[in-house]
């Protein structure tokens, strides 16, 4: 695929959210998390596939993923979505119906939520406008992820409300490279 056919991405710190957050101090520091799962899908609606490692390309995305290829559901709409992350802790809370927004516990497995990276010990909601590394790759937090009804339809489970405000982080890739399950995640700045 040539660069001309590459999907249009909004650079993370040029995103309306990221561009504001980058100039506002604050956020947790001193944490150290890890990469639990990597998932990609080749096209919109296709089931996610688990990967042990994947190549991240700066300004573009994860090789083989629908947003790298421009075949994602939201690819026609330029945005920051080179890499998406979600906290395992958020999935754990949903899986125990906490807070009780659902009629009962919902099981959302890492293959289901359609974010690329499932992470533990990483305060994603603090990372808009921040740089952090996953193994050798440096990511920039561009905006908070937002749940969508499309996911609810795909899964056949009422996940929209439970995911609200803990749906993860959309990032741009500042420095590409290989990411592997088990990689350390920590702040760069």
């Amino acid at each position: 695929m040539t660069d001309a056919s590459a999907p249009r991405m909004v650079e993370a710190f040029a995103h309306p959210a990221g561009s504001i957050a980058v100039g506002v101090p604050g956020g947790a520091v001193g944490w150290r998390g890890s990469l639990l799962n990597i998932h990609t899908a080749s096209a919109a609606s296709y089931e996610m596939e688990e990967r042990a490692e994947a190549r991240c390309v700066a300004g573009r995305g994860i090789e083989g993923d629908r947003y790298y290829l421009g075949s994602g559901t939201y690819s026609p709409k330029p945005d920051t979505r080179e890499v998406t992350l979600i906290e395992q802790e958020a999935l754990d809370a949903i899986n125990r119906n906490d807070p009780p927004l659902q009629s009962g516990p919902l099981h959302i497995a890492p293959i289901d939520h359609r974010r690329n990276l499932t992470v533990r010990g990483v305060p994603l909601n603090h990372l808009v406008g921040r740089r952090f590394r996953v193994g050798e790759v440096i990511l920039r937090g561009g905006r908070l992820n937002f749940p969508c009804k499309y996911l609810e339809e795909l899964l056949g489970q009422p996940v929209y409300l439970p995911l609200y405000n803990r749906s993860g982080l959309n990032c741009g890739i500042e420095r590409g490279g290989i990411i592997r399950v088990g990689d350390t995640i920590e702040m760069v700045d």
Binding site: A43, S45, Y46, T73, Y74, C148, K149, Y150, E153, L154
Partner: protein, 315 residues
């Protein structure tokens, strides 16, 4: 069409059930259970060139481990069935969506009359499996040129026993839809097959005064709307009575915004469902990929969907 997960399933069995019908058994390479479904449901099969074809599931809805479909080779068709016959053998991969049911059994019915023409037997066989397991009263009529041309006939015979009636043209037996069954308020009729058969059943029962909600005919709406040409229409806001003109080149969502009717929105592609709203009277042209068929009766997505003439919005 609302959003459905697409899975790369493996062909576990491929058997010619008649000279021109291929019966496929599909399993997931990693998951022991596939998404649940009910009798009458279909899946989308995605072809390598991006085209999509619908096939009814003909296996047992109680068996979560596999899907079964039967594909008739249509020489005059649009190439989907020829591709499937040429490429789907044991071990090959088929891109298949999670099931959707637009042709369900009526839960309140006490007696079910199933009428199959040729390959149209597929959803009705799944229904017969469910009805047999539930010990419900039913009959299945199978119309075909001959026994050798009737798809899945061995399965149908084994399942239905004397609840099966066959109508083979080569034997000089033709179904007379006017003599299908006596009307009762809790009998439902389901027909699937060539248009001339389903039309004949529909008109015979209409003429006998059957209420339309007791007669179910399966047909697939075309998926692609590449030829869709937007037309202008009028939208009335129920709460204020305001009448808004939506030109052909603008979305209803845009026009609502311009008139200060604030509506949450996100993707504006008809997939996220954020802008969904209610409507009353009016014929809506649904072009989203998120609302279920049931919801479309009174809900619409103004970012991509439109109306014929006019519509009243519950806003």
């Amino acid at each position: 069409m609302s959003a459905r997960l697409v899975m790369k399933l493996q062909v576990a069995a491929a058997v010619a059930t008649t000279p021109d019908v291929l019966h496929l058994t599909l399993v997931h390479p990693r998951r022991p259970e596939l998404p649940a479904w009910t009798a009458g449901a279909h899946v989308d099969l995605r072809l390598p060139d991006g085209r999509v074809r619908q096939y009814s599931l003909c296996g047992d809805p109680a068996d979560r481990g596999r899907y079964e479909i039967a594909i008739k080779r249509e020489e005059a068709g649009r190439g989907g069935s020829a591709w499937a016959h040429g490429n789907l053998g044991v071990g090959s991969v088929a891109d298949v969506s999670a099931p959707r049911n637009n042709f369900p059994l009526a839960p309140a019915a006490r007696r079910h009359i199933l009428v199959a023409g040729g390959i149209g037997v597929t959803p009705l066989l799944a229904m017969a499996r469910t009805l047999a397991a539930d010990r419900a009263e039913f009959a299945l009529h199978v119309c075909a040129r001959s026994a050798a041309d009737a798809p899945l006939l061995a399965d149908v015979r084994a399942l239905c026993g004397d609840r099966l009636q066959v109508w083979f043209a080569d034997d000089g037996r033709r179904l007379d839809p006017t003599r299908l069954c006596d009307f009762t308020v809790d009998t439902h009729v389901y027909a699937c097959g060539p248009r001339r058969l389903t039309d004949a059943v529909q008109s015979a029962l209409d003429a006998q005064g059957w209420p339309p909600e007791q007669v179910h005919v399966e047909h697939f709406a075309p998926l692609s709307d590449e030829t869709f040409k937007p037309e202008p229409f009028e939208a009335r806001i129920a709460s204020t009575g305001a009448l808004l003109h939506v030109p052909a080149d603008r979305s209803l969502l845009d026009v609502l915004r311009e008139h200060g009717v604030s509506q949450p929105a996100s993707c504006e592609l008809g997939v996220c469902g954020a802008c969904e709203c209610g409507y009353r009277d009016g014929t809506v042209i649904h072009r989203d990929a998120v609302l279920s068929v049931g919801k479309r009766r009174d809900r619409m997505t103004p970012c991509v969907s439109r109306a014929q003439g006019s519509v009243t919005l519950d806003l």
